[in-house]
């Protein structure tokens, strides 16, 4: 008994008068030390978020001091050599690509994950799981290659002529440039990239709804879709919205894959067939040669800061909702 107890009583007696605190058995001391080390390491993620934000803020400070925030965020002209640093075209470019990607991704992803959660046989599920894992494992640059080889020509030769023929009067579908390097190409690539994330999160959310509710609804004669539509969906709506926001924030920060297919023309886009120049692409393309022009590197890190802040807001909100919803499973 005694030699497994953290503080064997005889040790207490031996050291009487030397220290007011009982000495601690070595294993318990090891436990304490490990606990302290583990605790410090565990603070690392929290510290890292602060460190990234503060470092970017410090380095972006000169440009934030030199220009009013409004001019930076909504300024239309980006010409570092003339000291004009308007993020407007880049922020809009990112928004366009993200919105197109999310709009293309959400309907099929929602339907697919509802199918997996509510209808599919376990065989279908166990076939789909590795497919989604592989889809998530493919590196961004490979998505970029796929976009370049398959999607850009498809947009150029199929979708753009189609839009020109049938949708020419709608301004967001007007074709103003001859190539397929466009917001639509970026959106299609992003839609596939964020699909595994959205599907797996939505699937998990559906699994939190207790089966009793489904059984009750089915027992009074509702069809399965009626049950999903009227019983399950209302329960999981916040989670679905959070999953979509999470997917959007992933799309928002995606760099290489989008950069390869989107054309990188700093303009205010008006159509999904226009080129755009997203914020991450701006940073990636220019970060090497920024030293020659004063304020240039500060401006680029300002761009990174804008990206970070928007993504932090998206992420914190969606994560809070998801954590609440997923905890219900264990409660």
């Amino acid at each position: 008994m005694n030699d497994t107890h953290p503080v064997p009583p005889e040790i207490n007696e031996k050291i009487e008068g030397r220290s007011p605190r009982p000495s601690i058995a070595p294993r318990a001391r090891q436990d304490q030390r490990a606990r302290r080390v583990f605790f410090i390491i565990t603070l690392l993620p929290v510290f890292l978020i602060l460190a990234v934000t503060i470092a970017l803020l410090v380095r972006a400070w000169p440009i934030l001091q030199a220009y009013p925030l409004g001019d930076l965020l909504f300024g239309q002209v980006w010409k570092p050599s003339d000291k004009l640093f308007g993020f407007g075209p880049f922020i809009l470019g990112t928004l366009w690509v993200t919105v197109v990607g999310v709009l293309l991704s959400v309907p099929p992803c929602l339907l697919a994950s509802i199918y997996l959660a509510e209808y599919a046989h376990s065989a279908t599920r166990s076939f789909t799981k590795p497919v989604l894992d592989l889809l998530a494992a493919i590196p961004p640059v490979v998505y970029g290659v796929w976009g370049l080889l398959a999607i850009v020509p498809f947009v150029e030769k199929v979708l753009a002529p189609f839009a020109k023929r049938w949708l020419g009067s709608v301004s967001i579908f007007s074709v103003n440039q001859p190539t397929g390097f466009s917001i639509l190409s970026g959106g299609i690539v992003l839609a596939v990239m964020i699909a595994p994330l959205i599907i797996s999160v939505v699937y998990e959310i559906f699994a939190t709804v207790p089966n009793d509710l489904r059984h009750a609804s089915l027992a009074v004669g509702a069809t399965q879709w009626q049950t999903i539509r009227n019983i399950v969906l209302p329960q999981v709506t916040p989670g679905i919205i959070a999953a979509i926001v999470l997917g959007a924030s992933r799309a928002f920060g995606e760099t290489i894959a989008v950069l390869i297919v989107v054309g990188n023309v700093p303009q205010i886009p008006t159509s999904i067939f226009d080129s755009a120049y997203p914020l991450p692409a701006l940073i990636a393309n220019n970060y090497g040669d920024m030293m020659s022009i004063p304020l240039y590197d500060s401006a680029l890190l300002g761009a990174a800061l804008v990206l970070l802040v928007i993504i932090l807001i998206f992420n914190i909100l969606s994560t809070l909702v998801l954590q609440r919803m997923l905890r219900r499973k264990w409660a």
Binding site: I138, G144, V145, T223, Y287
Partner: protein, 289 residues
Amino acid sequence: MGMKKKYWQRRHLMELFMKTIMRISLVVVAASLGLILWTVVMRGLPAMNWDMVTQVPKGGFYMGKEGGVLNAIIGSLYLALGGTLLAMLFSLPIALYLKTYLGASKWGHYVRLSLDVLWGIPSIVYGAFGFTIMISIGMRASLLAGIIVLALVELPIMVRAMDEVIRRMPTDLEQAALALGSTKFEVAMQVVTRQMLPGIMTAILLAFGRGIGDAASVLFTAGYTDRIPTSLLRPTASLPLAVFFQLGSPFPEVQQRGYASALILTVIVLAVSLGSRWLSSRLNKYTVK
């Protein structure tokens, strides 16, 4: 009566309709994986040859002359291995601390929240952050810098994946060990780690796969060179950047080698992904059920 019958038919048609478009959606998602792989294989294979994986770039490589991307393959393996080891050093303690000491407490909640948030930060931001730190301490682009930034990218992925499996571990085993007088540290190291070994391996390989494919974070921090790095302080090439740079070339031969490089990267990543499935099913034999 007629009304009732009509309603019955409509909702059943709706059921059939929804089920059909759901199936189509699932097929579309699964087919996109096939399309991607097909494109990369069909366009990558023609430019693929033995030189690609056994040679470093020779003179004039970037104008279509001889050589391969061995520098990038080795560089990427070094980067991802280093990043994964470094991330592991921190992830395992965090995941164990979350399980054995914090559990479902308020602090556990905050740490998990911060991990989820870190996971969402795009790698270009980590790259920019790493680069600003490097400038301020006077460090050049190097293998070491690339490893550190990759470790930052991989850390949240790894901890979340470990936490996911460790959290699901039944508490019986843990409580049995505690009841026998083990300290929490001993439980963490000898019971949780062993029991969760398959899950931990999967998490590590998942993070490795993510690390080896990441381009935006090593773009400024690891540099690029035609040589295989001989020291941690030398710059190093990486496969994603090799693909990226070759795509931007005006020479068709070089672009095609870019596709071949993408094929090499895809094969490595898929092998890691499939390997982790196989390994975790192998290791699962040695856990208490």
